[in-house]
């Protein structure tokens, strides 16, 4: 249907997944009641007058957890293809995957002992 026929599914997927968020915003923009006023433009703090500073100190624990999560999530992604074809690959591939996981376990032990995973 499109220029390169092998990519038809790709274009269909791309067009549909682009149309859905556009439609979501359009429909809600058309159908929602809009009433402006000074109260609507002020910042919300559970119905009371906002007090204190709007700036909070950045808590490093969120970043540490996100960092460790990203690393081990990428490791998991690398293990998915190995898991899918695990039965037809031989013993040597199993040992290589074991070494890969071992290297990442060393990193995980280091991060754990150094307190990267402390929440308090």
């Amino acid at each position: 249907m499109f220029l390169i026929y092998e990519y038809d599914i790709f274009w269909a997927f791309l067009i549909i997944s682009s149309v859905i968020p556009i439609l979501a915003f359009l429909i809600s923009g058309v159908l929602s009641p809009i009433s402006k006023g000074p109260e609507k433009l002020s910042s919300y703090e559970s119905g009371i007058e906002p007090m204190g500073d709007a700036w909070l100190q950045f808590r490093i624990r969120y970043y540490m957890f996100a960092l460790v999560f990203v690393v081990f999530d990428v490791e998991t992604v690398f293990l998915y293809p190995w898991a899918m074809s695990f039965d037809i690959l031989g013993l040597s591939v199993f040992i290589e995957a074991f070494i890969f996981v071992l290297i990442l376990i060393v990193g995980s032990v280091y991060a754990w002992r150094k307190g990267a995973l402390e929440w308090s």
Binding site: I103, V109, Y110, R113, K114
Partner: protein, 473 residues
């Protein structure tokens, strides 16, 4: 592959061991580990000696005579840096040595990369570990600034290099480094040549060649002294050895790429040497001087590459000279020193003053100090190559003219050290006694004296060295 496996294993063991053991033992263990890696690479080169090129892991790793020798040189460079750091007796956390081991691993796998994938992964391992080394002082603002500049610019250059790799892959058959051969000889399309230029940009960035040198001065200024030693000794020799294999091995270079390389080396020479004139901080001065030296090395890398031993002569000599310089600089704290503070240094520390002055004049290439021989051989091989004489002779004359400039700031250091009176009546303080650094300086002095007499026979000696390192040539 045994040395790299040992290096990876020992880095991981030392990483875990450092949580229970004192930091000084970790520094000693990592220096011993680098020494074992050098011995293992020597053994592996001799035991697995092959007559022709071998591609391991379906092309990811190249096992040739050149890569075995380069691997040993990089291992020796890493060992020298570990030894210098151990002798400097800095109070840092133990992870510094571990990250240095990982960066040395990246460097060792980089020089034997035969595929763009392993090239890129090794380059990233080296860059990211170097970035951690730069920002190791957590309390220093200048270190954070330098690390940020280095990280952002190296990410940018990695992106450009990846784009070049994808262009080269799109216009040719595969991702091995051998596909560059057609492009560099000029038989490929414009898109492939553009991709090749982007890949060269990525590698030249690591070397801090002139239009891509902006990160170097600020990064070296803010990084700890041992990290700067690592950059100068290991990363520079790795990048030169890698470039010599990628560009120079492929025979004849296309005119446009060749003239491009000559242009950027001329630019490096001007920017490096003239930029060093105005610097008063020793770290920035050395950074600019390092950029300027590439004006001599790059054309020879492009023209001769792996076929002559001049590049190896330069790499080994610059290793000795940089080890010598850092045996002096590692006695100071990480900010370095201003040149004016050097006044009267010879009264309290005569041998250190002598080492500093001699090693800086060796960098300048002033005969009879040891740096003059590599410069002479490099310029001679530019003249004797087959680029047209209308390009070679003006470039060599220009390089000689610009090469007189480092003598200015190196002799200024000599004048300040030996003849200036200290300002404000304050004497230059006595530097802490570091026996290891003195031993390194003594060894470098002896090596440079030996090199003075033996340098003219370097090609014969190098043949012998290769025979010792990897078996029969």
């Amino acid at each position: 592959m045994l040395p790299e496996l040992y290096l990876l294993g020992s880095a991981m063991v030392v990483l875990l061991l450092g949580m229970v053991v004192d930091a000084r033992w970790i520094h000693r263990l990592s220096a011993i580990s680098m020494g074992v890696v050098v011995v293992l690479s020597w053994w592996s080169g001799v035991a697995h000696h092959v007559a022709e090129d071998v591609h391991l892991f379906s092309g990811l790793v190249l096992h040739t005579q050149y890569t075995c020798v380069s691997r040993i040189f990089v291992g020796i460079a890493g060992f020298v840096v570990s030894l210098l750091f151990l002798c400097a007796k800095r109070e840092v956390r133990y992870e510094f040595s571990v990250v240095m081991l990982f960066a040395a691993l990246g460097a060792m796998t980089l020089v034997q990369a035969g595929h763009f994938l392993s090239l890129y992964i090794s380059l990233e391992l080296n860059s990211l570990s170097s970035c951690v080394l730069v920002c190791f002082n957590r309390g220093s603002e200048r270190a954070s600034e330098s690390a940020l500049k280095f990280f952002i610019l190296s990410a940018l250059s990695s992106c450009i290099m990846l784009y070049g790799i994808s262009l080269v892959y799109g216009y040719s058959t595969g991702l091995e480094c051998g596909v560059m051969r057609e492009i560099l000889e000029g038989r490929a399309s414009l898109g492939a040549t553009l991709g090749c230029a982007f890949i060269l940009v990525g590698v030249l960035f690591k070397l801090a060649v002139a239009p891509f040198h902006m990160w170097a001065v600020d990064t070296y200024h803010g990084s700890p002294m041992a990290a700067m030693a690592f950059f100068f000794i290991v990363t520079k020799s790795t990048a030169i050895l890698l470039l010599a294999r990628i560009i120079g091995e492929n025979g004849i270079l296309q005119q446009s790429i060749l003239f491009g390389i000559i242009f950027v080396s001329g630019l490096s020479a001007i920017i490096g040497e003239l930029g060093a004139l105005r610097q008063s901080n020793i770290k920035r001065l050395l950074a600019y001087s390092n950029i300027g030296q590439l004006g001599y090395v790059l054309p020879v890398v492009a023209l001769h590459g792996t076929s002559s031993c001049v590049i190896s002569h330069y790499v080994l000599t610059s290793l000795v000279i940089n080890a010598w310089i850092f045996s002096v600089l590692l006695r100071y704290d990480d900010e370095g020193f201003e040149l004016a503070d050097l006044a009267g240094m010879y009264r309290n520390n005569p041998f250190v003053a002598f080492s500093l002055v001699t090693s800086m004049i060796s960098t300048a290439g002033f005969p009879p100090f040891v740096g003059c021989w590599p410069k002479y051989f490099l310029l001679k091989s530019i003249v004797m190559s087959d680029i047209p004489a209308v390009v070679a002779f003006p470039y060599v004359l220009f390089a000689c003219a610009v090469g007189a400039v480092p003598c200015f700031y190196c002799f200024r250091i000599a004048r300040v050290v030996y003849f200036d009176q200290p300002a404000r009546g304050a004497e230059h303080p006595a530097l802490p006694r570091r026996l290891g650094l003195t031993a390194v300086a003594v060894v470098c002095t002896l090596l440079s004296v030996a090199a003075l007499f033996l340098a003219q026979y370097f090609d014969i000696l190098f043949q012998g060295l290769v025979w010792v390192l990897v078996g029969h040539t």
